[in-house]
């Protein structure tokens, strides 16, 4: 196929766009590094994991408890939201009558757009007192996981739904011809065929879970400690930045950017792991 002028222009335009898209993450990392340098030069990275506690006013910068908070909240919510979301999509595509299915889909699309503050507000006013009655204080890792699950569920549900819709109808007809039940078809035929879409949804929802700030800020208690039970209040790295950035100067401010870098580190590690584990297309 001879490359026409049109095609060449197109390809270079597209490459330009891709470069822009790819460069943003790089810019952000550079920005974080620049802002974090002052305290890193003065205090060094090691102290961010070994100091006595997180108390920047007294020059103590241990991030580990908050790191645990972030990781636990993320893991908990992804573990719960993924099956719920995927099965919701299965419901939408294969079990529900068409009218209910489109209503359900609208509902989930709506939920993808509710602001994190509204989720946080609801969590603070409804969920936290509920949990508090079980075990004070109510603001806890559990509340965080619950709210995060609700927030990331639309992402995985909608992505899964879209990828199920793309499974070639021949596959389904073939399965029906073989006499497979609905569930067997879903489990044995649809899931493998939709692998790559499901994986996309997983990545997107994990990203959201790590990056969520406002809602977590309102329901997790924000106490800097490694949570030892589901009912312990804890603080995530993101909530920490949001809470203290407004009032931080000098080394404190730089230290907050270091925690931002640590977050980026986690994400890069997860992306690398995903690269290794990724199902081949």
């Amino acid at each position: 196929m001879s490359p026409s002028l049109n095609d060449t222009i197109l390809i270079w335009t597209l490459r330009g766009f891709a470069v822009i898209a790819g460069a943003i993450a790089l810019l952000i990392v550079v920005f974080l590094i620049l802002e974090a340098l002052p305290v890193l030069r003065q205090v060094g990275l090691w102290r961010f994991f070994t100091d006595a506690s997180w108390n920047p006013a007294e020059e103590l910068y241990n991030l580990t408890p908050m790191l645990w908070g972030t990781l636990l909240a993320m893991a908990g919510s992804v573990l719960i939201a993924t099956p719920l979301g995927v099965l919701s999509a299965v419901f939408c595509q294969y079990y529900a009558p068409p009218r209910i299915s489109s209503l359900y889909r609208r509902l989930i699309e709506l939920l993808a757009g509710i602001p994190s503050v509204v989720y946080g507000f609801w969590g603070l006013v409804v969920l936290v007192p509920l949990i508090g009655r079980l075990h004070p204080p109510g603001t806890s890792l559990l509340a965080g996981i619950a709210i995060l699950t609700i927030m990331i569920l639309p992402t995985i549900a909608l992505t899964a739904d879209a990828s199920f819709a793309k499974v070639p109808p021949d596959y389904l007809r073939g399965a029906a011809a073989l006499g497979l039940s609905r569930w067997a078809t879903v489990r044995g035929v649809v899931f493998p065929a939709a692998k790559s879409g499901l994986f996309t949804g997983l990545i997107l929802e994990t990203g959201r879970a790590i990056g969520e700030t406002m809602a977590i800020l309102m329901v997790c208690g924000n106490v800097v400690q490694t949570p030892k039970s589901l009912f312990d209040p804890m603080r995530t790295l993101t909530a920490n930045i949001a809470l203290e950035m407004a009032y931080a100067t000098g080394n404190h401010r730089s230290a907050l950017f270091v925690s931002g870098l640590v977050l980026m580190g986690i994400i890069v590690a997860l992306v690398a792991a995903a690269e290794v584990l990724k199902p081949s297309a």
Binding site: G113, I114, L180, W183
Partner: protein, 286 residues
Amino acid sequence: MSESSFSTASNRQFSTWLVWAIALFVTTIFLWILSDIIWHGARQLNWEFLTTAPRSAGRKGGIAPIIVSTALILGVCMAVSVPVGVGTAVLLAEFTDTENQFGRLVRRSLDVLAGVPSIVFGLFGNAFFCKTLGLGFSILSGGLTLACMVLPILIRSTEEGFRAVPSHYRLSAAALGISRTTTLWQLLLPAAVPGLVVGLVLGVGRAIAETAALIFTSGYVDRMPESLLDSGRALSIHIFDLSMNVSGGDANAYASALVLLVLLLLINGTAAWMAEHWLHRRITPS
């Protein structure tokens, strides 16, 4: 074949029961939240609320300037992210092999971008768009920052959309001697629209729900914006201020949340309708 474990009657009943139960559970939780918003917010909702400016720090009056600011921010976000996003997705899906270095770099970079916390986007947007590019607190800064946030979602979903287009479309087009550009515009893009629409819906949902990123970029000013370089308060920030910072602002916070949801319904509905009738051309599969 272990068919028996797949298709016993009780197994079938259990799986059906499980799926319906989950759908019901999810629906209940969401209806709980939605009904809370509707219950508390519907009382304040009237024409005056939608067309006047806020008074007394938002406790009284309406949210007209805020709706306009939000619409403008969303507009900027979509105007920037859709071309860049779809373009990148097309490149990744159609013009690069899976082993291509450039393509892999861009993909990894986008995965990382998908995980960046909203507050880091806010700080970055503030430093890059507001200060380095000199846009200051403005709707433009806010929209551009949101575009950065939304790109990974848009690109990923659109790419999936392209992957789902059967390969014989491309082969047939090549056999007919159609240029790649034409193939793209006339055949592939229309066929990949479902993926694009999902990406758009998720992206708009994310953008409209964003708070932390906008506080530092499009700002706090609740006046009616007169240009894209004016600072404008977005709905999500207004809701945040009313519920967390201003005493007695709860009622209007709920009402604003309700308006936001209606706006979202409209946008999603329009996107889906456009996909159905205008852009998606179903070519008979062979």
